[in-house]
């Protein structure tokens, strides 16, 4: 009897593993690369495999994760958003400027700043989308223009200075760790990812995002207006830049016009490593989260390993490419799994 029961639970266990494997492969094949990296650094780098270190990695990944979540939407409809880095900079200085306004109570300041930061992101993001759609322009060049404009605006707004002195409740919230394991900053990032995942998976809007990325003309012929959804998608990307700006402020407590330089490439890298197709229509936000983690684990792991500063970019570049190469075999692996 007992033997039989064991076999059954064994079978169940095998099935569970199988299912998890399958789902993780489908949602984020590149998770394997992440696991490999984790194993490698845990073995090789001192202090890597400690809870505190993982906590720290979580916090460090947060900004990129939030940016990359919005970027996933944009890439899914077949666009790209190069402006998120400078939008983030603009939003940090707008947010910080409001927060240190002496006429406002700390709480007023925090609420107002959050709305302003996200609002600025949302509006400029929507503007990106609107320009792309109004004149049928490639988002690459439109958002490249916005990159410059927003970065100039950030300088003007901040008068080129780093803004400090944020209200204490805000700073405290940034340092908060829920239940000893979940830093508030990471919590925000996870909430953003989950909302994004839910929207893409279960809402009608999500279906439109995939459909437009697959065949925009077909969507139009089905009687819909892709333009609207595409503008919305860029607005979302702007919004996440605004949220990422708040995360930046929570994490570093300073607003700066030079925050976020080059973040757009990092975010795009996370999205693509996460398996989302640059030509649109295929991908997942969970993959994006994994992609962002890979990049951060790599960077932190290399430092703990004591890698040379000059060698670091070489390794990071190589691993980015290796991760997507590995991911390109996913189809095959998945096929083998399903065939069984």
């Amino acid at each position: 009897m007992s033997e039989k029961a064991e076999t059954k639970s064994d079978v169940n266990r095998v099935r569970l593993v199988d299912t998890i494997l399958r789902i993780s492969m489908r949602e984020a094949g590149v998770a394997i690369a992440l696991v490999l990296l984790l194993i490698f650094f845990s073995a090789a780098a001192p202090y890597f495999a400690t809870p505190e270190n993982f906590l720290k990695i979580f916090v460090q990944t947060a900004i990129n994760t939030v940016l990359a979540s919005g970027m996933t939407f944009v890439i899914l409809v077949g666009g790209i958003d190069l402006s998120v880095g400078s939008l983030l900079a603009l939003c940090t200085v707008v947010g910080a400027t409001i927060m240190i306004d002496p006429r406002l109570s700390p709480w007023q300041a925090i609420v107002l700043a959050s709305f302003a930061s996200m609002g600025v992101g949302l509006v400029l993001g929507a503007l990106n989308g609107w320009i792309c759609e109004r004149w049928k322009l490639p988002s690459f060049i439109v958002t490249l223009g916005m990159l410059n404009v927003a970065s100039g605006l950030a300088r003007v707004v901040s008068d080129n200075s780093t803004i400090t002195g944020l209200p204490q409740p805000f700073v405290d919230f940034g340092n908060l760790i829920f239940w000893g394991v979940l830093p508030s900053i990471f919590l925000i990032a996870i909430v953003v990812v989950l909302i994004g995942w839910f929207i893409l998976k279960y809402t009608v809007f999500g279906r439109f995002v995939f459909a437009i990325g697959t065949n925009e003309e077909a969507v139009r012929l089905s009687g819909h207006t892709p333009r609207r959804y595409k503008i919305a998608v860029f607005a979302i990307s702007g919004l996440t830049a605004g949220i990422a700006a708040m995360v930046y402020l929570l994490r570093l407590n300073v607003g700066s016009p030079v925050a976020g330089i080059g973040y757009e490439l990092n975010a795009i890298a996370a999205v693509i490593i996460g398996g989302t197709s640059l030509s649109g229509g295929k991908g997942s936000i969970i993959g994006t989260l994994v992609g962002a983690c890979i990049l951060q684990v790599l960077s932190t792991g290399l430092q703990l390993l004591g890698a040379d500063d000059n060698v670091k970019p070489i390794v990071i570049g190589a691993v980015i490419v290796l991760a997507v190469i590995g991911d390109s075999y996913r189809g095959k692996w998945l096929h083998i799994l399903e065939m069984r």
Binding site: I63, R155, S161, T162, L252, V258, I261, L304, D309
Partner: protein, 283 residues
Amino acid sequence: ADKPKVGLIMKSLSNEFFKQMKAGADDYAAKNADKFDFKAVGMKDERDFASQVDAVENFVTQKYDIIVVAPADSKAMVTPLAKAVKAGVKVINIDVALDEDAKKAAGVDLAFFGPDNREGAKLAGDALAKDLGKGGKVVVLEGNPEADNAKERAKGFADSIKAGGLQLLDSKTAHWETEEANTVMTNFLTKYHDIQGVMAANDSMVLGVVKALDAAGLSGKIKVVGFDNIPAVQPLIKDGKVLATVEQYGAQMAAMGIDYGLREMKGEKFTGWVKTDIKLVTK
């Protein structure tokens, strides 16, 4: 009408040091509006010295009489500046010294008006060494590895580590950036549990370092020194979260550069290194 035209070329204006420099220069120019016309330009990315070269060329096109320049690269800027000199422009080198060999090769002899970055860093490092005492364990956050002032400051830190008998645990670049400094410092804290002091090559990185220490509940316990004395670190020094930083009087430096330029136009000649003030800023 025949007022001399003075152009000031800086690095990135979003670097607070240059922002102060510009403010000082604008101020000086406004006070002396009858003596000269003034224009200042910065760059988008301070590593992109090609755009600084463009700026030099554009000033020559506009027939400026004096170019005051804080070179983004001590070697690369020599050739275009030598060309400007040959075109009859008075060139004043401030902030970062042009490379001696390169100057010789280009056949120009330009004086340098600027601070001693190495000495400045040593001032800060020494303050830390004094505070920690012999055997204190420190980490260093460097600037852009190819930048001349970053190299000088790294040398200055190394000098004081040696002189003060400190123990260097690790040294990494955070590319002058707040966020990267925060990440690098956080990782240092993971890797080394006995850090006592931090030397950061500029104050933007200090902001990231202090935040990392705050998050770990170590601020004030681990001593931090920086460089530049930007407004944002001044409260941190007051709070004791930062031990010291170095003031290099950017505002005066540019004004002085302009002044030296005007004097050269009148026929004075300067050579060698005219050192400008540096000062250790503590609580």
